[in-house]
């Protein structure tokens, strides 16, 4: 029993963090908002060089061949830095899905794209988000379509790979300028079948778990940065002749957020470990993690905005870059209430 990263994992995460501090400061996140595709192809290449993109790609395909635990460590850092690149879609969703399809009917294509991802030469997205996540009035959406090279479409009929140029894309802009959403249609003739209907259902379930766990890891990172910004501001801003961080209302608000984060983080680790080890509790653990992380992020955004006051309400301050990403990821592929309900269902099923 050891509920902690090992030194390698810590070191890798530390290096990625240093990378982000240098290559992805808030100004870079801001630049991505107004860029053509919402992220930087150049930084994508650097992420590959660092080994980040290949973390889950098998070694023989040019990757590092590690699993969800290492991924969780990296995604927390990516959240902390609000990295605009589609790491959730490509690293946490496409890579595991392609890995699973690497021995199926579309093995050749799957392996090819895994290698391209590890090399930083491909951006792969997965969609559409299932109806239970997008809400009844929303259409089914896919992220980062304009910048993706390929779309994996996972439905109950199978998993297919479609080159972006063969997709019909209706772009929808989101509140977070780096989230480029789209409604997607495609010509079946242009699609490569990676898995048939039988395997697809299992894949879809795993995909949802990966999405939940991956977004939870990002949310923990986002939350800790939101908290850090609030702590910093509270130590600097003075009102009534005192630092506002010396007021108990501010202290207690922020310590509650710290608690939510400290509870969510080990839950993400456990979910990642379960996924990596195909544990019986993988789905449940992923939902626990997402429920906790989404709540932590919502609380962190709310507290941090309130502590910043009007300056936090501007688009000039960096806070909104983290806040808007948090709101989006908190409900993407299932909000906290959905995942709590899923946890309860699985607890009941277990006792039956």
């Amino acid at each position: 029993m050891r509920a902690a990263f090992d030194r390698d994992q810590e070191d890798f995460a530390g290096q990625f963090r240093s990378f982000c501090e240098k290559e992805c400061p808030p100004s870079a996140v801001r630049a991505a908002w107004t860029s053509e595709v919402g992220f930087s192809r150049e930084r994508w290449g650097k992420l590959a060089e660092l080994g980040v993109l290949g973390i889950g790609v098998p070694e023989e395909l040019g990757g590092i061949g590690r699993g969800e635990v290492e991924l969780a460590a990296l995604l927390e850092v990516a959240g902390w830095a609000a990295v605009p690149e589609p790491v959730l879609e490509t690293m946490a969703m496409a890579v595991p899905l392609l890995r699973e399809c690497a021995s199926g009917p579309g093995a050749r294509v799957a392996r090819e794209w895994l290698a391209l991802i590890a090399a930083g030469e491909a951006v792969v997205t997965v969609g559409p988000e299932p109806a239970w996540a997008s809400g009844a009035t929303g259409s089914q959406l896919t992220t980062v379509l304009p910048g993706a090279d390929m779309v994996l479409v996972a439905g109950s009929n199978g998993v297919v790979a479609v080159p972006s140029e063969a997709c019909g894309i209706v772009a929808r802009r989101a509140l977070d300028g780096t989230r480029r959403l789209a409604e997607v249609t495609f010509d079946p003739a242009a699609a490569t079948v990676l898995a048939g209907p039988d395997e697809a259902l299992a894949s879809l379930g795993k995909l949802a778990d990966q999405a939940a766990c991956g977004s939870a890891a990002l949310l923990v990172g986002l939350s800790s940065r939101l908290l850090g910004m609030a702590v910093e501001h509270a130590g600097e801003r003075r009102q009534f002749g005192r630092q506002i961080g010396s007021f108990q209302a501010v202290k207690h608000k922020l310590s509650d957020v710290a608690l939510r984060i400290e509870l969510a983080r080990p839950a993400v680790w456990y979910a990642a470990w379960q996924l990596a080890n195909q544990g019986a509790e993988a789905s449940q653990a992923a939902s626990v993690a997402k429920a906790l992380a989404a709540e932590a992020a919502t609380a962190a955004a709310s507290a941090s905005l309130q502590v910043h006051g009007a300056i936090g309400y501007t688009a000039e301050h960096d806070l909104h870059l983290w806040m808007k990403r948090s709101w989006a990821l908190a409900s993407w592929w299932g909000d906290a209430a959905h995942h709590r309900s899923r946890v309860l269902q699985s607890l009941i099923a277990r006792t039956e």
Binding site: A136, T137, A174, F240, Q306
Partner: protein, 409 residues
């Protein structure tokens, strides 16, 4: 049989509790409803919705709507007829607001003037000032922005450092300093705010309330983009801005009292009428019904939040009518206004958070014009509620110390 029963029989001074409108109030409601339903900009009639009032074209479109309302005396129903109002009572005003928001009326671009400066001017202004400013304010001809906050004076409003020194000729003033978070500041015509006229005085003493045209020489307006990306507020720089004596509201050095009367309006009854939140809560219930049809599991998960939010809005409506009754009985709204601010800002957040939950991840989508509209726009706006008009932390302090009597410190 007993003294109480006797008392009940003899004392009929006050009128009994009655939540019905009087026939006069009902006919006022009917008139307002009928006018609003026929005139509020709407998609069906091809007259709406108006673009965001934080864009140049939206600002002018909203100004035109203010003028339209003013022409038929619906812009400031509770003001005296001489300034363009109808002299309506408090209950009538609340009823008008219910109808306005229920009809889908647009945000009031003139609200800072109408609801914050207007009442202060009626209480502290000279007759010349009232005649000069109030009708133009009510008609949207002159849109006002507020100049309360400064970079070092947000929640701690008394820390104001912008100054006004006596000018030449005598009686005039020269303003220097910086105001920030001036809502509507990007496109407004005038600004009202506090400046320090006695540099030796501390905190809330030695301040004076000024009215300043934003096109005066020496003024620079820097629009600031809000969370929705639009310049909803601005920084206003004052560099040797000359202001005549006629643009001082109230006495020199007594600006704090004038401002506090205004702040009371903002937090209290007049800025955020329940009608606005009730209308949003009704739309929330309709959204719930839509979602229940196509995604019953999600609707079920959100049901309690929807009910809670509607109840918060309804409770704020009822509590406001109770406050109105006290005011009509002769009481003044004091620190209880802070309870009101906590209530409406909480209700607004509850309604919009429930809607965001019902919408799921599609809540993040921008409108067709690339700006947040509908529920998302409302959610962003609701987030500002606990911050502006005195943060909710300040309001809780006020409630604790001045309503409950807990010790300061």
């Amino acid at each position: 049989m007993d003294i109480v029963a006797e008392n009940l029989a003899v004392c009929q001074i006050c009128s009994p509790m009655d939540f019905r409108l009087t026939p006069e109030q009902e006919s006022f409601r009917a008139e307002a409803r009928s006018w609003l339903r026929a005139n509020v900009p709407s998609a069906e009639r091809g007259t709406g919705p108006l673009p965001s009032l934080d864009t140049p074209e939206g600002f002018e479109a909203h100004r035109a709507w203010e003028r339209r309302m003013f022409e038929e005396r619906w812009s400031v129903v509770s003001w005296p007829r001489s300034y363009g109002g109808r002299g309506a009572g408090l209950v009538e005003w609340l009823v008008f607001e219910e109808e306005y928001w229920d009809a889908g009326g647009p945000a009031r671009v003139g609200q800072n003037g109408i609801f914050l400066l207007g009442p202060a001017m009626m209480a502290f202004g000279t007759e010349e000032q009232r005649n000069r400013f109030l009708p133009a304010m009510a008609s949207g001809e002159e849109i006002w922005c507020q100049g309360w906050s400064e970079p070092g004076a947000g929640s701690d409003l008394a820390s104001i450092r912008s100054v006004a020194r006596p000018g030449d000729p005598e009686g005039t003033w020269v303003l220097n300093g910086l105001k920030t978070w001036c809502s509507r500041g990007a496109f407004a015509d005038w600004l009202f705010g506090l400046f320090r006229t006695d540099p030796s005085a501390e905190r809330h003493r030695g301040l004076t309330y000024f009215l300043v045209p934003l096109d005066a020489p020496g003024i620079t307006v820097r629009p600031i983009a809000q969370l929705d990306g639009e310049p909803g507020f601005a920084e206003v720089f004052f560099d040797e801005v000359e202001v005549p004596a006629s643009q001082v509201l109230g006495s020199v050095g007594r600006g704090w009292e004038v401002a506090m009367a205004t702040a009371g309006s903002e937090r209290g009854l007049s800025l955020r009428s329940p009608g606005r939140f009730l209308a949003a809560a009704r739309r929330l219930v309709a959204l719930y019904e839509q979602v229940a049809l196509c995604d019953p599991a999600r609707a079920e998960r959100c049901a309690d939040a929807v009910a809670r939010a509607w109840i918060e809005a309804e409770a704020y409506r009822l509590a406001t009518f109770a406050t109105a009754a006290r005011v009509l009985d002769g009481a003044t709204v004091g620190p209880e206004a802070s309870l009101s601010k906590l209530a409406w800002s909480g209700a607004d957040l509850a309604v919009h958070e429930a809607a965001i939950g019902l919408l799921g991840s599609s809540a993040e989508l921008l409108g067709s014009d690339g700006t947040p509209d509908g529920w998302l726009g409302g959610f962003l706006f609701a987030l500002a509620g606990p911050i502006y008009a005195g943060t909710n932390e300040i309001q809780r302090n006020v409630v604790a110390e001045r309503v409950l009597g807990l010790p300061r410190g």
